[in-house]
């Protein structure tokens, strides 16, 4: 059985394996620095009839690729866990419905992939399931439609804004030996420091990231030096710097191995993406491509993966609500 080793942290007694991953990305992401790591690059406008249908197809494709890599049948999956950013998490639901297997839909915005990993790991350790699929996606245009202005409307984006990543990531979680394993995780709490600027979500999420990272360090008695990579979800340039400053104020200054999926996925100087990438698919696809491949090839052996999520909705924003943020940490070892 898993053991609680801190106020928010759980250590798994029998480490749970990430057996395989699959990633699907759009054109812009394909042109980015991680382009060659993605399993499949698709035309984000025409892969499905609409942006939403494209996202659904990308979502299910990521699972399919992950299954194919280990030649597993979807019937061997006891539980599908998935989420996305659309209202009523329809991308995950419609994608997973074709498998006709038990399903838990989750939502913690852009931190959904970490939440899914934690649920899958807990379920497997508890013996409730033997093998799970976790999958998360986002699509630039389906998100713009839901949260912002029409695509063809000519407006400037704020200097602090980020670009939603069009990508999906799927992973098969099980018990096979020899694969990278989840050894412990910290479930974030909702951190709300009264940020209201929805054009600056990186800054709004930075405190949650810093809080979860430090909480995990304290519970596991580790620090940056104990990891090859500590990587947040989608803070992008601006939020990443805020997180760095917050960590420095707590004494974490030697942090050369600290990075962020939103910074990795795009070349923010060359690509027109504002501060960097965001979206649930950002951390999911970067983990399922770049990070997993480095783990698999043993170039990385100790990773702390900390996706971050901004939990507001357009309604709460219009009602002058703040941006509650969350970050979930998953410690992975090779």
């Amino acid at each position: 059985m898993a053991k609680k080793i801190g106020p928010q942290t759980v250590k798994l007694r029998t480490p749970v394996a990430i057996e395989s991953t699959g990633s699907v990305a759009g054109t812009m992401e394909g042109l980015g620095p991680l382009g060659s790591y993605f399993d499949l690059i698709v035309d984000e406008d025409n892969f499905g009839d609409t942006f939403e249908k494209t996202e659904i197809k990308m979502h299910s494709k990521a699972i399919e690729i992950a299954l194919q890599k280990i030649e597993a049948e979807s019937d061997s999956i006891d539980l599908f866990v998935g989420g996305d950013l659309l209202n009523q998490i329809v991308a995950a639901t419609f994608a997973i419905s074709e498998y006709s297997r038990p399903y838990w839909g989750v939502y913690s915005a852009c931190a959904s992939f970490a939440e899914s990993l934690q649920i899958a790991a807990t379920t497997i350790e508890a013996g409730v399931a033997e093998r799970c699929s976790v999958s998360v996606s986002s699509h630039f245009s389906s998100v713009e439609r839901q949260y912002r202005t029409p695509l063809e409307q000519g407006s400037q984006s704020a200097i602090t804004s980020q670009r939603t990543v069009t990508a999906s990531g799927g992973a098969i979680i099980g018990q096979s030996k020899g694969a990278p394993t989840i050894v412990s995780f910290t479930t974030g709490k909702i951190v709300d420091f009264d940020c209201c600027d929805i054009a600056d979500m990186g800054t709004a999420m930075a405190p949650a990231a810093a809080h979860t990272i430090i909480t995990h360090f304290l519970a596991t008695k580790t620090s940056f030096k104990d990891y090859d990579l500590v990587v947040t979800g989608d803070l992008a340039n601006l939020g990443f710097n805020v997180a760095k400053d917050l960590l420095a104020s707590e004494g974490y200054v030697d942090i050369g191995n600290f990075s962020d999926c939103g910074k990795l996925v795009f070349d923010t100087d060359a690509q027109n993406v504002g501060q960097g990438g965001s979206g649930a698919g950002c951390s999911a696809s970067v983990f399922c491509s770049y990070i997993y491949k480095l783990l698999d090839s043993k170039q990385l052996s100790r990773v702390l993966f900390v996706p971050t999520g901004a939990l507001m909705s357009p309604l709460t924003s219009f009602q002058d609500g703040s941006i509650p943020a969350i970050a979930h940490a998953v410690q992975i070892a090779r």
């Binding site: 812009m28 042109l31 695509l151 407006s155 069009t166």
Partner: protein, 118 residues
């Protein structure tokens, strides 16, 4: 009509909006509403007409000009028809623009698919 004034007045109205959008939390949709209402108020106070005489399209093409047309139309309809003009004047004066935008928008939607920006 001096083309220089057209450019200067039109450009300056855009600059004011740009400064608001860059330095406050207001976004373009909110600024357009402000501009229309500002145009209505300034016209009603008699302050916008001189600008239109000076700069022509420089004052009528920006959205404040939409407010100007609404008020001018309302006033002349009231002068002509009395009470009923309060209700008919504004939309009558701006009907061409609204109709054109709607019809062209509908036609465009039947042939065009939105594209993800790369």
């Amino acid at each position: 009509m001096n083309y220089l004034w057209v450019f200067l007045v039109g450009g300056t109205l855009c600059i004011i909006a740009q400064i608001i959008v860059d330095n406050t939390k207001y976004v373009s949709g909110q600024i357009l509403v402000m501009y229309v209402v500002a145009g209505v108020v300034l016209t009603a106070l008699g302050l916008y007409e001189p600008l239109v005489e000076l700069a022509g399209s420089g004052a009528t093409v920006p959205l404040t000009g939409f407010g100007y047309s609404l008020v001018k139309g309302t006033f002349s309809a009231i002068d002509e028809k009395g009470f009923i003009g309060i209700f008919t004047g504004g939309l009558t004066a701006t009907s061409a623009g609204i109709c054109a935008a709607l019809v062209f928008g509908y036609l465009a939607s039947s042939v065009v698919k939105p594209k993800t920006k790369i």
